[in-house]
Amino acid sequence: MNHIKLLFFATIRDRAGVKSLEMDIPTDLTIQGLKDKLSADYPNLKQSMQSVLITINREYAFDEAVVPPNAEIGMFPPVSGG
């Protein structure tokens, strides 16, 4: 199992109800697998998982990427700063 930390921002954080989560995930789980797991475990996040942006260790990541050990995973909607 890999230990990871999830950070939620903006609408995703509002739906998650928390700013961060720590969890253990299977080795070799992909981002797609992580999204599926969160959709199953946290029904409030299910809809968000379809359009969420994901980062692994502060770089944008995509569905096929494998989540590395001790990853810091960011989840948020498209950015709207400025």
């Binding site: 950070l7 921002f9 903006a10 609408t11 509002d14 942006l53 980062t55 502060r58 944008y60 995509f62 960011g74 948020f76 909607p77 498209p78 950015v79 709207s80 700063g81 400025g82």
Partner: protein
Amino acid sequence: MQPSNLPTFYSITESEIDLNDLLAKITLTSTGAAAIFTGMVRGVTTRGDAHETEYLEYESYIPMAEAKMKQVADEIREKWPVVEGVAIVQRIGKLYPKTPTVLIACTAAHRDTGVFDAARYGIDRLKEIVPVWKKEVGPSGEEWVEGDYIPKPGE
């Protein structure tokens, strides 16, 4: 001049944006021109979905945002090698109409070298890849402002 000597300043801050200070930070003895963009909170918006804003509440994924600001500065320098200094600042927190919220500034020796385009690129790019979000609070309640850019692999 070695690129390593060129000033790059980037920051997510809760403090007021000080244009004089930021311009001084990226002014060198070789720079004669600065193009600066600032964004301010609008209290009244008439384009598109017309509405009023009481305040905006900004938040950021700060360490990633600062890394992406650095990346924007690097991209600017790659596209406009004449650019010498770059400053990128995003203010976060609760910000009221007329308050400057974001600044992009680029300096170069001369004004006809692309320095305006560089600043324009910087603000466009910041709004694509720097993780900052704003929630708008107005007479009809609060609403997150939705971005629409999906970063591509490698961004």
